[in-house]
């Protein structure tokens, strides 16, 4: 078990390193950064000054190792636009994105688990098919469009929820629902499949033979086993949600990391873009490791006892 975790950790570090490299390459794609930063009205002298100031006149390889070295120690550079350390910027915006992601995940689980269980228990009935239809619809839904629709209905017409900003916890409801929509189809399907398989297993037959209550059989015995892959996938889905938050944050004007990335791309603020890609990738890798750990925690057979 420990060996397994160590191996995963090594892979995680390698992935982070690769992403670091890719992020660096990404921001150097358009050729001359100095020209882009200096702007369209800059003279050649301005551009040269910019180049010197940001160390862009050094060889590419030097710049790369500088970036890697600094990033490993947590120094993600300085934002051209905000004139602040990038790590500070990200640190400021991260709580919003994390709150949004977790809200989305919680909503997704609150919807997927009961729906999946219901569909499994009523397998092949119209209820089951209705749940599957919901899953298919959810997968086809363009998230930004759903966000706008919700805004119109709940924000404008009904006036129940705020349509932008992060003033109160209600601000996270609509964006959370939209994020949840992206994860609900997969989680529901997984729960349903897992429950169907669990309910057909021998140990459930034993549980029935012991005269246990319906609720106990369903929730204590079956769900406990069916939920193992669901929990792991949920962690990974959170990773996707965090990565995809850029669209939602823009729609709902939430000033999180995604919004920051969006602004920075528009302003050619490369250090920020580079760093955000790296941070999100590292978080994702961390979540997949968490998923593995949870698998082991929840399934005694994997503990290698």
């Amino acid at each position: 078990m420990l060996r397994f975790l160590v191996r995963r950790l090594i892979v995680a570090l390698l992935v982070a390193a690769t992403v670091m490299t890719l992020a660096f390459i990404l921001t150097r794609l358009s050729g001359d950064l100095a020209t882009a930063i200096a702007g369209p009205n800059a003279t050649q002298a301005d551009v040269d000054a910019v180049r010197k100031a940001y160390g862009l006149d050094r060889p590419l390889v030097t710049q790369f190792f500088d970036w890697v070295g600094n990033a490993t120690m947590g120094n993600l550079g300085e934002s051209f636009f905000f004139k602040k350390r990038v790590s500070e910027l990200i640190g400021e915006r991260m709580p919003v994105t994390l709150t949004l992601g977790l809200t989305g995940l919680v909503i997704a689980l609150l919807v997927s688990l009961p729906l999946g269980i219901l569909a499994a228990v009523r397998e092949n009935t119209s209820l089951d098919r209705a749940v599957q239809v919901v899953a298919v619809l959810g997968q086809a839904m363009p998230s930004f469009w759903l966000g706008l629709l919700l805004m119109i209905v709940f924000g404008l017409k009904l006036g129940w929820l705020p349509i932008s900003g992060t003033d109160s916890w209600q601000s996270y409801i609509m964006p959370g629902v939209v994020l949840a929509f992206s994860a609900i189809p997969a989680l529901t399907r997984l729960t349903r499949a897992g429950m169907i398989q669990a309910m057909g297993s021998d140990y459930i037959r034993t549980a029935r033979a012991k005269g246990l209550s319906r609720a106990s059989i369903l929730l204590k015995h079956a769900l406990r086993n069916a939920a193992i892959p669901v929990v792991a996938i949920a962690a990974v889905q959170l990773g996707f949600m965090l990565g995809g938050s850029i669209v939602i944050e823009q729609v709902f004007a939430l000033h999180g990391v995604g919004f920051l990335a969006w602004e920075s791309i528009a302003k050619n603020d490369f250090p920020v873009v580079q760093a955000v890609v790296l941070v999100l990738a590292v978080i994702y890798v961390g979540l997949t490791m968490l998923a593995d750990v949870m698998n082991a925690v929840l399934d005694p057979r994997l503990r290698g006892a």
Binding site: L29, V136, Q139, I152, G244, I246, I265, V276
Partner: protein, 242 residues
């Protein structure tokens, strides 16, 4: 029973795709107006089901007076084009990588798995945005970028060989393009990508909600159709190979 459901759903999907493909291919012949022609005297006309509509513009007009139905049909062409071309690009990349890994096994396979893991860690929308933001938006660039980002599912599946992933990829590509266009960094205006139409309409959505509802519904229905058809195909082929 379930098979019956699948049949209805699959046929529904096929129908939707058929209509979409027809619109995409014959768009120049089908559009009642030029989708790029502005008519500032006829801005934000309402669709036919609302009062005061203009029979010349069945689905109304947008904020620059362009006929909505024409833009919708043209946008279908764009979505379908994106879906197919991105899938081809990502499919080529992904299947090559996946087959290499599955076939050669050992270290090569490890490398393939590592590549897939890394690709999964990258926030796709963000990177696509960054690339387009840096290099300017154009159709070819968009297709290549998305193709380079979406190959993972093909690779995973090519390692273990099944078939229905193609439809998932197409759907995903279409949705991603719409999202990117919505954020302004996808297909360049004035091409009527449905995502772009929604973005342009966002400022008016509280007063004229149909401007975002119509293209959104179109997107949703198209992707739904692809999913349904894909599920149906999977049942067909998957069941046989089981």
């Amino acid at each position: 029973m379930k098979r019956g459901f699948r049949n209805v759903a699959t046929w529904l999907g096929a129908l939707i795709i058929g209509v979409a493909a027809f619109c995409a291919i014959f768009a120049p012949l089908l559009v009642p107006h030029d989708p790029f022609a502005q008519d500032l005297g006829k801005r934000l006309l309402v669709p036919f089901w609302m009062e005061g509509s203009d029979p010349q513009h069945v689905l109304g007009t947008d904020q620059l007076g362009r006929d909505y139905l024409s833009r919708l049909i043209w946008g279908c062409r764009i979505s379908m084009l994106i879906g197919v071309t991105v899938s081809i690009v990502s499919g080529l990349i992904g299947i090559t990588i996946g087959v290499l890994g599955g076939f050669l096994g050992g270290r090569v396979d490890d490398a393939v798995l590592f590549a897939i893991t890394t690709r999964l860690a990258i926030p796709v929308v963000l990177v696509a945005l960054a690339v387009v933001g840096l290099l300017g938006s154009s159709m070819p660039l968009l297709v290549i970028t998305l193709g380079l980002l979406l190959w993972d599912r093909f690779a995973v599946v090519a390692r273990s060989t099944t078939m229905q992933v193609a439809t998932l990829e197409i759907a995903l590509a279409i949705l991603l393009e719409a999202a990117l266009s919505f954020l302004g960094l996808g297909v360049p205006p004035p091409l009527p990508s449905w995502g772009l139409m929604i973005a342009e309409a966002k400022d008016y959505m509280f007063f004229s909600p149909w401007v975002i509802v119509i293209p959104g519904v179109a997107l949703f229905v198209l992707v739904l159709g692809i999913n349904l058809l894909g599920d149906g195909l999977r049942d067909l082929f998957g069941a046989r190979s089981a």
